[in-house]
Symmetry: none
Subunit: 229 residues, 2 copies
DNA sequence: ATCGTCTGTCACAAATTCGTCACCACGCAC
DNA sequence: GTGCGTGGTGACGAATTTGTGACAGACGAT
Protein backbone atom coordinates (compact mmCIF):
# COMPACT_ATOMS: atom_id res chain seq x y z
CA UNK A 1 0.00 0.00 0.00
CA UNK A 2 1.36 3.30 -1.09
CA UNK A 3 0.37 6.82 -0.40
CA UNK A 4 0.03 9.01 -3.44
CA UNK A 5 -0.67 12.72 -3.48
CA UNK A 6 -2.55 13.93 -6.53
CA UNK A 7 -2.55 17.62 -7.35
CA UNK A 8 -5.02 18.03 -10.13
CA UNK A 9 -7.18 20.74 -11.62
CA UNK A 10 -10.10 18.77 -12.90
CA UNK A 11 -11.30 17.94 -9.46
CA UNK A 12 -10.05 21.29 -8.26
CA UNK A 13 -9.29 19.60 -5.00
CA UNK A 14 -6.15 18.38 -3.42
CA UNK A 15 -6.53 14.74 -2.77
CA UNK A 16 -4.53 12.53 -0.61
CA UNK A 17 -5.26 9.10 -1.87
CA UNK A 18 -4.15 5.61 -1.25
CA UNK A 19 -3.09 3.68 -4.23
CA UNK A 20 -3.78 0.02 -3.98
CA UNK A 21 -1.27 -1.83 -6.07
CA UNK A 22 -3.18 -5.05 -5.93
CA UNK A 23 -6.57 -3.77 -6.94
CA UNK A 24 -5.07 -1.05 -9.10
CA UNK A 25 -7.40 1.54 -7.81
CA UNK A 26 -7.17 4.96 -6.33
CA UNK A 27 -9.11 5.66 -3.22
CA UNK A 28 -9.60 9.06 -1.75
CA UNK A 29 -8.40 9.28 1.78
CA UNK A 30 -8.64 12.92 2.66
CA UNK A 31 -9.37 16.08 0.78
CA UNK A 32 -8.45 19.46 2.10
CA UNK A 33 -8.83 22.83 0.52
CA UNK A 34 -7.30 24.92 3.21
CA UNK A 35 -3.81 23.60 2.86
CA UNK A 36 -1.60 23.88 -0.13
CA UNK A 37 -0.35 20.81 -1.90
CA UNK A 38 3.12 21.45 -0.61
CA UNK A 39 1.97 21.61 2.96
CA UNK A 40 0.13 18.35 2.65
CA UNK A 41 3.11 16.73 1.03
CA UNK A 42 5.40 17.85 3.82
CA UNK A 43 2.99 16.59 6.40
CA UNK A 44 2.04 13.26 4.97
CA UNK A 45 5.18 12.38 3.03
CA UNK A 46 3.48 10.38 0.28
CA UNK A 47 5.29 7.78 -1.76
CA UNK A 48 4.47 9.48 -4.99
CA UNK A 49 3.11 12.80 -6.15
CA UNK A 50 1.04 13.22 -9.29
CA UNK A 51 1.31 16.86 -10.24
CA UNK A 52 -0.81 18.53 -12.86
CA UNK A 53 1.07 21.36 -14.48
CA UNK A 54 -2.07 23.22 -15.50
CA UNK A 55 -3.31 24.18 -12.10
CA UNK A 56 -6.00 26.85 -11.97
CA UNK A 57 -4.44 29.44 -9.77
CA UNK A 58 -0.84 28.56 -9.47
CA UNK A 59 2.06 27.46 -11.54
CA UNK A 60 2.79 23.78 -11.39
CA UNK A 61 6.47 24.32 -11.78
CA UNK A 62 6.73 26.50 -8.73
CA UNK A 63 4.94 23.84 -6.73
CA UNK A 64 7.49 21.39 -8.00
CA UNK A 65 10.37 23.61 -7.04
CA UNK A 66 8.94 24.02 -3.59
CA UNK A 67 8.72 20.28 -3.23
CA UNK A 68 12.29 19.86 -4.28
CA UNK A 69 13.50 22.60 -2.01
CA UNK A 70 12.44 20.86 1.17
CA UNK A 71 14.45 17.89 2.34
CA UNK A 72 11.33 16.12 3.47
CA UNK A 73 9.72 16.13 0.05
CA UNK A 74 12.76 16.26 -2.12
CA UNK A 75 13.13 12.54 -2.44
CA UNK A 76 9.56 11.89 -3.43
CA UNK A 77 9.15 10.91 -7.07
CA UNK A 78 6.92 13.23 -9.03
CA UNK A 79 4.84 12.23 -12.02
CA UNK A 80 3.78 15.23 -14.05
CA UNK A 81 0.62 15.62 -16.07
CA UNK A 82 1.15 17.87 -19.04
CA UNK A 83 -1.38 19.25 -21.43
CA UNK A 84 -1.65 17.81 -24.90
CA UNK A 85 1.93 16.77 -25.15
CA UNK A 86 3.54 20.15 -25.36
CA UNK A 87 7.15 19.27 -25.78
CA UNK A 88 8.37 22.35 -24.00
CA UNK A 89 6.54 21.49 -20.84
CA UNK A 90 7.75 17.95 -20.95
CA UNK A 91 11.33 19.01 -21.34
CA UNK A 92 11.10 21.63 -18.67
CA UNK A 93 9.61 19.15 -16.28
CA UNK A 94 12.24 16.55 -16.89
CA UNK A 95 15.00 19.09 -16.62
CA UNK A 96 13.68 20.20 -13.30
CA UNK A 97 13.96 16.63 -12.20
CA UNK A 98 10.53 15.15 -12.57
CA UNK A 99 10.65 11.40 -12.57
CA UNK A 100 8.05 10.85 -15.23
CA UNK A 101 5.23 12.54 -17.07
CA UNK A 102 2.00 11.61 -18.74
CA UNK A 103 0.52 13.67 -21.51
CA UNK A 104 -3.13 14.42 -21.75
CA UNK A 105 -5.29 12.96 -22.90
CA UNK A 106 -4.49 9.66 -21.29
CA UNK A 107 -6.51 6.64 -20.35
CA UNK A 108 -6.97 5.97 -16.65
CA UNK A 109 -5.46 2.59 -17.26
CA UNK A 110 -2.31 4.16 -18.60
CA UNK A 111 -1.94 6.46 -15.64
CA UNK A 112 -2.34 3.51 -13.34
CA UNK A 113 0.35 1.66 -15.19
CA UNK A 114 2.76 4.55 -15.00
CA UNK A 115 2.08 5.09 -11.36
CA UNK A 116 2.63 1.45 -10.72
CA UNK A 117 5.82 1.45 -12.73
CA UNK A 118 7.12 4.49 -10.92
CA UNK A 119 6.31 3.08 -7.53
CA UNK A 120 7.98 -0.14 -8.52
CA UNK A 121 11.07 1.68 -9.63
CA UNK A 122 11.39 3.79 -6.57
CA UNK A 123 10.25 1.24 -4.09
CA UNK A 124 13.69 -0.17 -3.60
CA UNK A 125 15.09 3.23 -2.95
CA UNK A 126 12.45 4.17 -0.48
CA UNK A 127 12.38 0.94 1.37
CA UNK A 128 15.95 -0.09 1.90
CA UNK A 129 16.65 3.54 2.09
CA UNK A 130 18.07 4.07 5.48
CA UNK A 131 21.71 3.81 6.15
CA UNK A 132 22.42 2.95 9.69
CA UNK A 133 25.60 2.41 11.54
CA UNK A 134 25.59 2.76 15.25
CA UNK A 135 23.90 5.95 16.27
CA UNK A 136 24.17 7.22 12.74
CA UNK A 137 21.04 7.13 10.64
CA UNK A 138 20.62 8.58 7.21
CA UNK A 139 17.20 8.33 5.65
CA UNK A 140 17.90 8.13 2.00
CA UNK A 141 14.56 9.20 0.69
CA UNK A 142 14.21 12.27 2.82
CA UNK A 143 17.92 12.56 3.38
CA UNK A 144 17.38 13.47 6.93
CA UNK A 145 20.28 12.85 9.10
CA UNK A 146 20.05 11.58 12.64
CA UNK A 147 22.91 11.36 15.04
CA UNK A 148 22.07 9.52 18.21
CA UNK A 149 18.42 10.07 17.45
CA UNK A 150 18.77 13.80 17.17
CA UNK A 151 18.01 15.26 13.75
CA UNK A 152 20.79 17.24 12.18
CA UNK A 153 19.88 20.27 10.14
CA UNK A 154 21.49 20.53 6.77
CA UNK A 155 21.51 23.62 4.63
CA UNK A 156 20.30 23.44 1.07
CA UNK A 157 23.78 23.20 -0.37
CA UNK A 158 24.95 20.66 2.13
CA UNK A 159 21.87 18.66 1.40
CA UNK A 160 22.44 18.59 -2.33
CA UNK A 161 26.04 17.64 -1.86
CA UNK A 162 25.39 14.88 0.63
CA UNK A 163 22.61 13.54 -1.48
CA UNK A 164 24.80 13.18 -4.51
CA UNK A 165 27.47 11.49 -2.49
CA UNK A 166 25.10 9.11 -0.78
CA UNK A 167 23.20 8.25 -3.91
CA UNK A 168 26.42 7.46 -5.66
CA UNK A 169 26.42 4.50 -3.32
CA UNK A 170 30.09 4.26 -2.65
CA UNK A 171 31.24 5.35 -6.06
CA UNK A 172 33.65 8.18 -6.35
CA UNK A 173 32.06 11.42 -7.42
CA UNK A 174 34.47 13.58 -9.31
CA UNK A 175 35.06 17.14 -8.27
CA UNK A 176 33.92 18.43 -11.61
CA UNK A 177 30.74 16.42 -11.48
CA UNK A 178 29.92 17.65 -8.00
CA UNK A 179 30.63 21.24 -8.91
CA UNK A 180 28.43 20.89 -11.93
CA UNK A 181 25.52 19.19 -10.25
CA UNK A 182 25.47 21.14 -7.04
CA UNK A 183 26.68 24.53 -8.17
CA UNK A 184 25.99 24.41 -11.87
CA UNK A 185 29.52 25.25 -12.78
CA UNK A 186 29.86 24.33 -16.39
CA UNK A 187 33.57 24.14 -16.94
CA UNK A 188 36.30 23.12 -14.62
CA UNK A 189 36.48 25.85 -12.07
CA UNK A 190 39.29 26.54 -9.75
CA UNK A 191 37.46 26.92 -6.52
CA UNK A 192 37.74 25.77 -2.96
CA UNK A 193 34.02 25.92 -2.40
CA UNK A 194 33.62 22.19 -2.65
CA UNK A 195 36.32 21.57 -0.08
CA UNK A 196 34.77 24.01 2.31
CA UNK A 197 31.37 22.40 2.08
CA UNK A 198 32.81 18.96 2.47
CA UNK A 199 34.47 20.16 5.59
CA UNK A 200 31.21 21.57 6.92
CA UNK A 201 29.43 18.35 6.14
CA UNK A 202 32.06 16.39 7.97
CA UNK A 203 31.65 18.62 10.97
CA UNK A 204 27.97 17.88 11.04
CA UNK A 205 28.59 14.20 10.60
CA UNK A 206 30.48 14.29 13.86
CA UNK A 207 32.41 11.16 14.51
CA UNK A 208 31.14 9.74 11.26
CA UNK A 209 33.07 12.30 9.30
CA UNK A 210 35.12 9.53 7.78
CA UNK A 211 32.12 8.37 5.82
CA UNK A 212 33.04 11.06 3.34
CA UNK A 213 36.32 9.88 1.96
CA UNK A 214 38.71 11.92 -0.09
CA UNK A 215 39.97 10.37 -3.26
CA UNK A 216 42.90 12.54 -4.02
CA UNK A 217 43.00 13.97 -7.49
CA UNK A 218 39.55 12.65 -8.28
CA UNK A 219 36.82 13.62 -5.87
CA UNK A 220 34.94 12.28 -2.91
CA UNK A 221 33.18 9.10 -1.98
CA UNK A 222 30.59 8.25 0.62
CA UNK A 223 30.74 4.94 2.38
CA UNK A 224 28.45 3.93 5.19
CA UNK A 225 31.01 1.95 7.08
CA UNK A 226 34.50 3.29 6.58
CA UNK A 227 36.33 0.13 7.46
CA UNK A 228 39.92 0.65 8.27
CA UNK A 229 41.98 -1.82 6.29
CA UNK B 1 30.42 6.98 -18.62
CA UNK B 2 27.65 4.58 -19.41
CA UNK B 3 27.15 2.07 -22.15
CA UNK B 4 23.84 2.23 -23.93
CA UNK B 5 22.60 -0.16 -26.56
CA UNK B 6 20.29 1.38 -29.11
CA UNK B 7 18.13 -0.87 -31.23
CA UNK B 8 16.56 1.34 -33.80
CA UNK B 9 14.99 1.05 -37.21
CA UNK B 10 15.84 4.39 -38.72
CA UNK B 11 19.52 3.66 -38.88
CA UNK B 12 18.75 0.00 -39.49
CA UNK B 13 21.87 -0.72 -37.57
CA UNK B 14 22.53 -1.98 -34.14
CA UNK B 15 24.65 0.55 -32.41
CA UNK B 16 26.61 0.18 -29.28
CA UNK B 17 27.07 3.68 -28.10
CA UNK B 18 28.56 5.39 -25.14
CA UNK B 19 26.45 7.92 -23.44
CA UNK B 20 28.44 10.65 -21.83
CA UNK B 21 26.45 11.98 -18.93
CA UNK B 22 28.64 14.98 -18.60
CA UNK B 23 28.53 16.20 -22.16
CA UNK B 24 25.07 14.80 -22.67
CA UNK B 25 25.99 13.24 -25.95
CA UNK B 26 25.82 9.91 -27.60
CA UNK B 27 28.88 8.60 -29.26
CA UNK B 28 28.95 5.58 -31.49
CA UNK B 29 31.39 3.00 -30.35
CA UNK B 30 30.82 0.07 -32.65
CA UNK B 31 28.25 -0.91 -35.19
CA UNK B 32 27.59 -4.48 -36.09
CA UNK B 33 25.04 -5.98 -38.39
CA UNK B 34 25.90 -9.60 -38.07
CA UNK B 35 24.80 -10.05 -34.51
CA UNK B 36 21.35 -9.64 -33.15
CA UNK B 37 20.59 -7.03 -30.60
CA UNK B 38 20.12 -9.67 -27.96
CA UNK B 39 23.50 -11.19 -28.64
CA UNK B 40 25.21 -7.87 -28.38
CA UNK B 41 23.40 -7.09 -25.19
CA UNK B 42 24.45 -10.35 -23.63
CA UNK B 43 28.00 -9.79 -24.66
CA UNK B 44 28.46 -6.17 -23.77
CA UNK B 45 26.04 -5.85 -20.87
CA UNK B 46 25.12 -2.22 -21.47
CA UNK B 47 23.78 0.01 -18.72
CA UNK B 48 20.66 0.78 -20.67
CA UNK B 49 18.88 -0.45 -23.75
CA UNK B 50 16.85 1.79 -26.02
CA UNK B 51 14.52 -0.46 -27.92
CA UNK B 52 12.48 0.60 -30.88
CA UNK B 53 9.27 -1.39 -31.09
CA UNK B 54 8.88 -0.91 -34.82
CA UNK B 55 11.82 -2.89 -36.00
CA UNK B 56 11.87 -3.80 -39.68
CA UNK B 57 12.08 -7.54 -39.58
CA UNK B 58 11.36 -8.55 -36.07
CA UNK B 59 8.96 -7.86 -33.31
CA UNK B 60 10.23 -5.51 -30.63
CA UNK B 61 8.29 -7.27 -27.96
CA UNK B 62 9.91 -10.60 -28.61
CA UNK B 63 13.30 -8.96 -28.40
CA UNK B 64 12.25 -7.57 -25.07
CA UNK B 65 11.09 -10.94 -23.82
CA UNK B 66 14.37 -12.46 -24.86
CA UNK B 67 16.24 -9.83 -22.94
CA UNK B 68 14.20 -10.48 -19.86
CA UNK B 69 14.60 -14.21 -20.16
CA UNK B 70 18.35 -14.17 -19.72
CA UNK B 71 19.76 -13.49 -16.27
CA UNK B 72 22.56 -11.43 -17.72
CA UNK B 73 20.31 -8.96 -19.43
CA UNK B 74 17.29 -9.21 -17.21
CA UNK B 75 18.36 -6.44 -14.90
CA UNK B 76 19.12 -3.94 -17.63
CA UNK B 77 16.59 -1.13 -17.82
CA UNK B 78 14.84 -0.83 -21.16
CA UNK B 79 13.54 2.38 -22.65
CA UNK B 80 11.04 1.73 -25.41
CA UNK B 81 10.40 3.84 -28.45
CA UNK B 82 6.83 3.55 -29.59
CA UNK B 83 5.26 4.85 -32.73
CA UNK B 84 3.00 7.86 -32.65
CA UNK B 85 1.77 7.34 -29.14
CA UNK B 86 -0.32 4.28 -29.71
CA UNK B 87 -1.78 3.65 -26.36
CA UNK B 88 -1.91 -0.08 -26.82
CA UNK B 89 1.78 -0.35 -27.43
CA UNK B 90 2.59 1.84 -24.52
CA UNK B 91 0.49 -0.16 -22.16
CA UNK B 92 1.75 -3.46 -23.46
CA UNK B 93 5.32 -2.30 -23.04
CA UNK B 94 4.84 -1.15 -19.51
CA UNK B 95 2.97 -4.28 -18.59
CA UNK B 96 5.80 -6.39 -19.88
CA UNK B 97 8.05 -4.48 -17.54
CA UNK B 98 9.71 -1.82 -19.62
CA UNK B 99 11.20 0.87 -17.46
CA UNK B 100 10.17 3.77 -19.60
CA UNK B 101 9.05 4.69 -23.06
CA UNK B 102 9.21 7.64 -25.37
CA UNK B 103 6.65 8.21 -28.06
CA UNK B 104 7.55 9.33 -31.53
CA UNK B 105 8.00 11.94 -32.62
CA UNK B 106 10.31 13.16 -29.95
CA UNK B 107 13.10 15.65 -29.87
CA UNK B 108 16.61 14.30 -29.43
CA UNK B 109 16.90 16.48 -26.41
CA UNK B 110 13.96 14.82 -24.82
CA UNK B 111 15.36 11.37 -25.42
CA UNK B 112 18.61 12.44 -23.85
CA UNK B 113 16.79 13.68 -20.81
CA UNK B 114 14.88 10.48 -20.39
CA UNK B 115 17.98 8.40 -20.86
CA UNK B 116 19.79 10.49 -18.35
CA UNK B 117 16.96 10.22 -15.87
CA UNK B 118 16.75 6.49 -16.30
CA UNK B 119 20.46 6.00 -15.93
CA UNK B 120 20.45 8.12 -12.84
CA UNK B 121 17.67 6.10 -11.34
CA UNK B 122 19.20 2.77 -12.04
CA UNK B 123 22.78 3.68 -11.49
CA UNK B 124 22.86 2.06 -8.11
CA UNK B 125 21.43 -1.20 -9.32
CA UNK B 126 23.79 -1.85 -12.17
CA UNK B 127 27.09 -2.95 -10.76
CA UNK B 128 29.21 -2.47 -13.80
CA UNK B 129 32.79 -1.99 -14.57
CA UNK B 130 34.47 -4.41 -12.28
CA UNK B 131 37.45 -6.38 -13.32
CA UNK B 132 37.75 -9.69 -11.61
CA UNK B 133 40.41 -12.28 -11.72
CA UNK B 134 41.07 -14.65 -8.94
CA UNK B 135 40.36 -12.99 -5.66
CA UNK B 136 41.12 -9.65 -7.25
CA UNK B 137 38.28 -7.29 -7.77
CA UNK B 138 39.07 -4.02 -9.44
CA UNK B 139 36.16 -1.65 -9.43
CA UNK B 140 36.59 0.90 -12.15
CA UNK B 141 34.02 3.31 -10.87
CA UNK B 142 35.05 3.17 -7.25
CA UNK B 143 38.72 3.34 -7.99
CA UNK B 144 39.04 0.63 -5.48
CA UNK B 145 40.86 -2.64 -5.41
CA UNK B 146 39.67 -5.51 -3.34
CA UNK B 147 41.94 -8.28 -2.30
CA UNK B 148 39.96 -11.15 -0.93
CA UNK B 149 37.33 -8.69 0.12
CA UNK B 150 39.62 -6.15 1.72
CA UNK B 151 39.59 -2.73 0.09
CA UNK B 152 42.88 -1.27 -1.05
CA UNK B 153 43.16 2.36 -1.93
CA UNK B 154 45.01 3.22 -5.10
CA UNK B 155 46.19 6.58 -6.26
CA UNK B 156 45.10 7.84 -9.63
CA UNK B 157 48.36 6.90 -11.31
CA UNK B 158 48.55 3.53 -9.71
CA UNK B 159 45.02 2.84 -10.78
CA UNK B 160 45.63 3.75 -14.39
CA UNK B 161 48.69 1.56 -14.46
CA UNK B 162 47.05 -1.43 -12.86
CA UNK B 163 44.02 -1.06 -15.04
CA UNK B 164 46.08 -1.25 -18.20
CA UNK B 165 47.92 -4.27 -16.94
CA UNK B 166 44.80 -6.11 -15.87
CA UNK B 167 42.89 -5.27 -19.00
CA UNK B 168 45.72 -6.61 -21.10
CA UNK B 169 44.55 -9.95 -19.81
CA UNK B 170 47.88 -11.62 -19.40
CA UNK B 171 49.53 -10.03 -22.40
CA UNK B 172 52.82 -8.32 -21.93
CA UNK B 173 52.58 -4.54 -21.92
CA UNK B 174 55.69 -2.88 -23.21
CA UNK B 175 57.37 -0.20 -21.19
CA UNK B 176 56.92 2.35 -23.94
CA UNK B 177 53.24 1.59 -24.22
CA UNK B 178 52.69 1.98 -20.51
CA UNK B 179 54.64 5.20 -20.36
CA UNK B 180 52.63 6.51 -23.24
CA UNK B 181 49.21 5.56 -21.96
CA UNK B 182 49.66 6.37 -18.32
CA UNK B 183 52.02 9.31 -18.47
CA UNK B 184 51.51 10.54 -22.00
CA UNK B 185 55.16 10.32 -22.80
CA UNK B 186 55.38 10.40 -26.55
CA UNK B 187 58.81 9.06 -27.34
CA UNK B 188 60.92 6.53 -25.57
CA UNK B 189 61.94 8.14 -22.35
CA UNK B 190 64.69 7.08 -20.11
CA UNK B 191 62.95 7.15 -16.78
CA UNK B 192 62.60 5.01 -13.74
CA UNK B 193 59.14 6.30 -12.99
CA UNK B 194 57.48 3.19 -14.26
CA UNK B 195 59.63 0.95 -12.14
CA UNK B 196 58.88 2.97 -9.06
CA UNK B 197 55.17 2.79 -9.59
CA UNK B 198 55.28 -0.89 -10.30
CA UNK B 199 57.06 -1.29 -7.04
CA UNK B 200 54.44 0.72 -5.19
CA UNK B 201 51.70 -1.30 -6.81
CA UNK B 202 53.36 -4.52 -5.76
CA UNK B 203 53.57 -3.23 -2.23
CA UNK B 204 49.85 -2.61 -2.19
CA UNK B 205 49.17 -5.99 -3.74
CA UNK B 206 50.76 -7.54 -0.70
CA UNK B 207 51.27 -11.24 -1.09
CA UNK B 208 49.88 -11.03 -4.59
CA UNK B 209 52.80 -8.92 -5.71
CA UNK B 210 53.91 -11.66 -8.05
CA UNK B 211 50.84 -11.13 -10.16
CA UNK B 212 52.72 -8.31 -11.79
CA UNK B 213 55.46 -10.11 -13.60
CA UNK B 214 58.52 -8.52 -15.08
CA UNK B 215 59.34 -9.43 -18.64
CA UNK B 216 62.89 -8.42 -18.91
CA UNK B 217 63.71 -6.06 -21.72
CA UNK B 218 60.07 -5.72 -22.71
CA UNK B 219 57.70 -4.64 -20.00
CA UNK B 220 55.26 -6.08 -17.50
CA UNK B 221 52.48 -8.57 -17.47
CA UNK B 222 49.59 -9.20 -15.12
CA UNK B 223 48.51 -12.71 -14.37
CA UNK B 224 45.84 -13.57 -11.86
CA UNK B 225 47.41 -16.78 -10.69
CA UNK B 226 51.18 -16.72 -10.92
CA UNK B 227 51.58 -20.45 -10.90
CA UNK B 228 55.14 -21.67 -10.84
CA UNK B 229 55.52 -23.38 -14.18
C1' DA C 1 17.48 48.50 10.52
C1' DT C 2 19.44 44.55 12.91
C1' DC C 3 20.51 40.17 13.66
C1' DG C 4 21.63 35.59 12.43
C1' DT C 5 22.48 32.22 8.99
C1' DC C 6 24.23 30.57 4.81
C1' DT C 7 27.91 30.83 1.25
C1' DG C 8 31.83 31.61 -1.41
C1' DT C 9 36.64 33.09 -1.32
C1' DC C 10 41.07 33.57 0.47
C1' DA C 11 45.50 32.59 2.76
C1' DC C 12 47.98 29.46 4.99
C1' DA C 13 49.00 24.79 6.88
C1' DA C 14 49.05 19.97 6.34
C1' DA C 15 49.08 15.91 3.73
C1' DT C 16 49.81 13.17 -0.17
C1' DT C 17 51.58 12.02 -4.50
C1' DC C 18 55.06 11.66 -7.77
C1' DG C 19 59.32 11.83 -10.30
C1' DT C 20 64.18 11.44 -9.82
C1' DC C 21 68.32 9.70 -8.12
C1' DA C 22 71.84 6.80 -6.06
C1' DC C 23 72.76 2.45 -5.03
C1' DC C 24 72.14 -2.51 -5.08
C1' DA C 25 70.76 -7.04 -7.01
C1' DC C 26 70.06 -10.05 -10.53
C1' DG C 27 70.48 -12.32 -15.14
C1' DC C 28 72.96 -13.24 -19.05
C1' DA C 29 77.02 -13.52 -22.28
C1' DC C 30 81.63 -14.26 -22.56
C1' DG D 1 84.27 -14.91 -12.36
C1' DT D 2 83.72 -10.51 -14.77
C1' DG D 3 81.22 -6.98 -17.01
C1' DC D 4 77.20 -4.98 -18.84
C1' DG D 5 72.54 -4.05 -19.06
C1' DT D 6 68.19 -4.11 -16.81
C1' DG D 7 65.22 -3.90 -12.96
C1' DG D 8 64.33 -3.38 -7.59
C1' DT D 9 64.46 -0.44 -3.63
C1' DG D 10 64.61 3.23 -0.40
C1' DA D 11 64.97 8.07 0.32
C1' DC D 12 64.35 12.81 -0.77
C1' DG D 13 62.37 17.06 -2.37
C1' DA D 14 59.20 19.38 -5.24
C1' DA D 15 54.71 19.90 -6.83
C1' DT D 16 50.12 19.21 -6.30
C1' DT D 17 46.04 18.64 -3.68
C1' DT D 18 43.25 19.11 0.28
C1' DG D 19 42.07 20.72 5.16
C1' DT D 20 41.12 24.56 7.94
C1' DG D 21 40.00 28.91 10.04
C1' DA D 22 38.73 33.54 9.15
C1' DC D 23 36.15 36.87 6.77
C1' DA D 24 32.81 39.53 4.12
C1' DG D 25 28.79 39.75 1.23
C1' DA D 26 24.05 38.00 0.45
C1' DC D 27 19.84 36.85 2.04
C1' DG D 28 15.85 36.37 5.03
C1' DA D 29 13.49 36.73 9.31
C1' DT D 30 12.32 39.53 13.09
Amino acid sequence: MHTVLVVDDETDILELVVFNLERQQFKVLTADNGLTAVQIAKDKIPDLIVLDLMLPGMDGFSVFRELRADPRTNGIPVLMLTAKGEVNDRIAGLELGADDYVTKPFSPRELLLRVRALLKRTRKVTVDASLKSGDFLLERNTLKLFLAGRPVDLTATEFKLLRLLVEANGEVQERDALLREVWGYSDTMLTRTLDTHVKRLREKLGKHAECIQTVRGVGYRFVASPNPA
